[in-house]
Amino acid sequence: MPVILATDLIIFFLVGAIVYFIIASQKDGSLQAVRRELVKNRLAMVCMAFLAFYVAVALLDSVRYRDAVVGDDGKEALSEGGSVIYSPEALSLLDRALSGIRTRTEKTYSAPFASHSYAKESMEGASGGIVRGYPPLKYPRTHWLGTDRVGNDVLFIALKGVRTGVVIGAGTTLVIIPFAIFFGVIAGFYGGAIDDIVQYIYTTLSSIPGVLLIVAFMLLFGSSGYQGGLVSEVHVVWRAFVLNDRLFWLCLILGITSWTDLCRLIRGETLKLRELEYVQASKAFGAGKLGIIYRHIVPNVMHLVLITFVLQFSGLVLAEAILSYIGIGVGPETGSWGNMINTARLELSREPVVWWNLLAAFAAMFALVLPANIFGDAVRDALDPRLRYK
């Protein structure tokens, strides 16, 4: 039985948008130019490969279903009412593809490629007596990035963090951009009372300390939500849908607290654009206001959107780590780089140091944030016809 989380919709939307761009850019002239420009840029292409890998992992990790419970007789177990009983554990395609790594758990920490455990243990010696020593691993030399405290493979955990990172980055932006563009543009374009109201809203919002707002919001909506791991009946809204997803609420509140900066920028730019002569010329044709906004205003504020997106993306991935640290981020069951970094605090004070968890989280994060930055810049340049043909 499939399980669809609210945040899966974000990933599906993201993938859909990418596919749409690729298809549309086959026909549409101006999109074609954008694509040509991007393809010409080697560095951007390398970054795109990284991003594509991340999105693919996130997508695989967002398609999940619950298996039917199999009874002792090898047949599907049925409940008293005669319906199939499903396991409470919803495994994603990624989980299934990597089930080799996923199930190869040790007892506790082990360093990358180690053959023996990290911690000493009392065990039966060769001569029969009890000796203390490093016990051999169940699966020696197979954990590329080592294992964590409960013996899970770190590579697998880091890969599970991909989805969280992509969702936070993309989901929050999906909240921010429509809000900011809509309010920024109408405030700047129409002015008057609309402008006053929008300004009032964002001034008020940005004068409340963001963290307080996030804490309050998460306690209110997120506390009973799905935290990753087992799906209980409480979470399921309609057969397969889990809308009360903690990560989703996190995206929403991060979006709500961070759209104001972009909105302010867009409002200012719109105020300037509104008076420009090409907008006046458009008015002289009797073009409708919405048409003017669509043709002349929005395309000319897109550079602000992209710059803000790139700047905020890394900030958001980091914010997830910080919020998880104070206990209002994603649940401990959800694999996330934030959670990995948090546990690393204790690990770093051990002797010898357990460094591989932290390193893996950082490397994974870095390989997302840096290409996203570079690629964002490349997209902005490709969108600007003034920078083409150079």
């Binding site: 101006s30 090409y278 006046q280 010329a281 002289a284 009797g286 073009a287 043709r295 395309p299 000319n300």
Partner: protein, 625 residues
């Protein structure tokens, strides 16, 4: 006596991705004490770079002085350390820039800025400097100088700011004053005051002046010597009066003949085809070859040197070289006729197309927390105008007098506060936006700034298409594209322009796109709001020719808003003079110009520098006699 400034074979180059840009490529001239040297030429030919090289402010690290010497009072200043250069700037050389809005620091008071300049360069105490500052501000005839010390730049008008800049520049009694387009951004009446002021101070302190300008009449009336620059070189150098009496270089002649004016009415203005070659790829021989109306076979390969021909008049053109002309390379490649072709707009109909009656447009001034309306700015305060079919009405006046507001109110881009606008029998002011729609295509507007008037993210086709789609939505795609191509052709752009973006065009070409955008919806009436003011004279001439020929072919009516009286004399049938929201005088162009009645009109006309009328029609291309 050593000249104040002597430049010898100056070369200023830029490293660019497309190669080395030779912005200044071997320029030599000198300015004596108390003399004014004017540098003229089309945009991008290296005038500003020459000035920046003199004051040692070439934008680094891309730009560098590649050769030559700059002697200030006989001393070479090209090899100085940064510290020594700073001493020279301000003490020995001062500069006034074109843009009075940005050249003062907005967060410092006028007093702080001028006193800083004085204490920095003259070692005076603050108290002495303060007195000197008050004296200087008085000298540039700013009212109440003592109070002005505490004012911030934003509270001053453009003309006042430029005066403050001059006060700062001259407070250090420099040996050399560089004025790069000092009056271009200012109103005609203020322009005259500023330039007279520079002249007067020059006489008092015998400062040498390097004047860079587009305004030929200004050069004629205020400069002793003129250098005509083209593609990084000086192509003609002569005393001002000599140059204007007998321009020898084809480029100079073309440039002078493209100036619009009364005596050119009914004629096409002279234009220079093509554009200034890019500084990274000049032609090998004469740099004007390719655009020259008298080009000969050898011109494109043999470079003509700048040689003195008669009494201090130097020119770089083979036509004046007897030896070359008797040689094998002097067979003409091109020989354009000297006389300008006629361009006459017939005036058959004399009925009114548009009548404006008692038009008032007031902007509310909002104040306080709740933005209550505290008063009204009366931008247009009761004007009456009549635009006749197929003719041009010019609306002139100083900046801020309400010209643009009037133009926009007439075509209903701004809804007026009061008054009636009768267009084809309907009163536009009473119509709703929907009711206006059928009239929208009849009235269009062309703007001043070729850079902000086109959306940088739309192709030319998309830009022109917008109007057709809005006003004639039924037109099929194919017909629409044909129409766009036809319109582009009409304004002198090929169909290949369609898929290009605005930034790929020069200023003049962009202006053509703007005209095409208006023309594509078949208007009967076009408001031209300073449509040629931001362009080079040679480009301006092309656009004026274009507008006139369009008027002739389609019987259009123009409302021509401008502050350039030469343009008005050339193109307008009637003139309305606007002052502080009202029309102070209105009538046929000739009558207003020859016999102004209103005091403001008189002042306006007197302020314009003029070239002797006898010279204007006497300019001939060389090689015809």
């Amino acid at each position: 006596m050593t000249p104040v400034l002597e430049i010898k074979d100056l070369k200023t180059y830029f490293k660019t991705p497309r190669g080395v840009a030779k912005a200044v490529d071997g320029v030599s001239f000198s300015i004596p004490k108390g003399g004014t040297f004017a540098l003229v030429g089309e945009s991008g030919c290296g005038k500003s770079m020459t000035a920046l090289s003199v004051i040692q402010l070439v934008p680094e690290p891309a730009g560098y002085i590649a050769g030559g010497r700059v002697l200030l009072n006989g001393r070479d200043i090209t090899g100085l350390t940064e510290r020594e250069k700073r001493g020279i700037r301000g003490n020995n050389i001062s500069m006034i820039f074109q843009e009075p809005m940005t050249s003062l620091n907005p967060v410092l008071t006028i007093g702080e800025q001028i006193i800083e300049a004085i204490t920095l360069h003259q070692g005076k105490t603050r108290k002495e400097a303060r007195e000197a500052a008050i004296e200087m501000l008085g000298r540039v005839r700013l009212p109440d100088p003592a109070a002005l010390l505490f004012a911030y730049p934003h509270s001053l008008s453009g003309g006042m700011r430029q005066r403050v800049m001059i006060a700062i520049a001259l407070s250090c009694r420099p040996d050399l004053l560089i004025a790069d387009e000092p009056t271009t951004a200012l109103d005609v009446t203020i322009q005259a005051q500023i330039i007279d002021l520079i002249d007067e101070l020059k006489r008092e302190t015998s400062t040498a002046v390097l004047l860079i300008t587009h305004n030929m009449a200004l050069v004629y009336t205020h400069a002793e010597t003129v250098g005509v620059m083209y593609a990084g070189k000086i192509v003609e150098l002569a005393p001002a009066k000599t140059l204007f009496r007998n321009p020898m270089h084809p480029y100079t002649v073309k440039l002078l003949r493209s100036i619009p004016g009364q005596e050119k009415r009914g004629l096409k203005l002279d234009t220079i085809p093509g554009v200034v070659p890019s500084a990274t790829s000049y032609p090998v021989g004469c740099r004007f070859s390719g655009r020259c109306p008298r080009e000969m076979e050898g011109c494109a390969v043999i470079e003509p040197p700048l040689v003195e021909r008669v009494g201090g008049h130097s020119v770089a053109c083979h036509l004046h070289d007897a030896e070359f002309m008797s040689g094998p390379y002097s067979r003409p490649l091109r020989h354009e006729p000297d006389a300008l072709p006629p361009l006459i707009v017939p005036h058959g109909e004399r009925e009114a197309l548009l009548e404006v009656k008692g038009l008032k447009t007031h902007y509310p001034i909002r104040k306080g927390l709740f933005k209550r309306v505290a008063g009204h700015l009366k931008a247009v305060d009761g004007i009456d105008l009549t635009v006749k079919k197929g003719s041009t009405l010019a609306l002139v006046g100083e900046s801020g007098c309400g010209k643009t507001t009037a133009g926009k109110s007439i075509i209903q881009l701004i809804r007026p506060t009061e008054g009636r606008i009768i267009f084809k029998g309907a009163d536009l002011t009473t119509l709703s936006e929907k009711g206006l729609k059928p009239f929208r295509s009849r009235m269009q507007i062309i703007f001043q700034d070729p850079y902000s008037s086109l959306n940088p993210r739309l192709t030319v086709k998309e830009t022109i298409e917008e109007g057709i789609k809005a006003l004639n939505p039924g037109l099929a795609k194919k017909a629409r594209e044909e129409k766009i191509a036809r319109t582009l052709d009409r304004v002198g752009l090929g169909p290949e322009a369609m898929l290009r973006y605005p930034h790929e065009f020069s200023g003049g070409q962009r202006q053509r796109v703007g005209i095409a955008r208006a023309l594509a919806v078949d208007p009967e009436f076009i408001v031209c709001d300073e449509a040629v003011s931001a362009l080079d004279v040679s480009v301006q001439a092309q656009i004026l020719n274009l507008l006139k020929s369009i008027q002739r072919d389609f019987g259009l009516s123009f409302l021509f808003i401008t502050h350039d009286l030469g343009v008005v004399e050339y193109i307008a049938d009637e003139v309305a003079v606007m002052y502080e929201g009202r029309i102070v005088e209105q009538g046929p162009t000739e009558e207003i110009f020859s016999n102004p009645k209103d005091a403001y009109t008189k002042r306006l006309l007197e302020a314009v520098p003029k070239i002797d009328a006898s010279l204007l029609s006497a300019w001939r291309l060389p090689g015809d006699h």
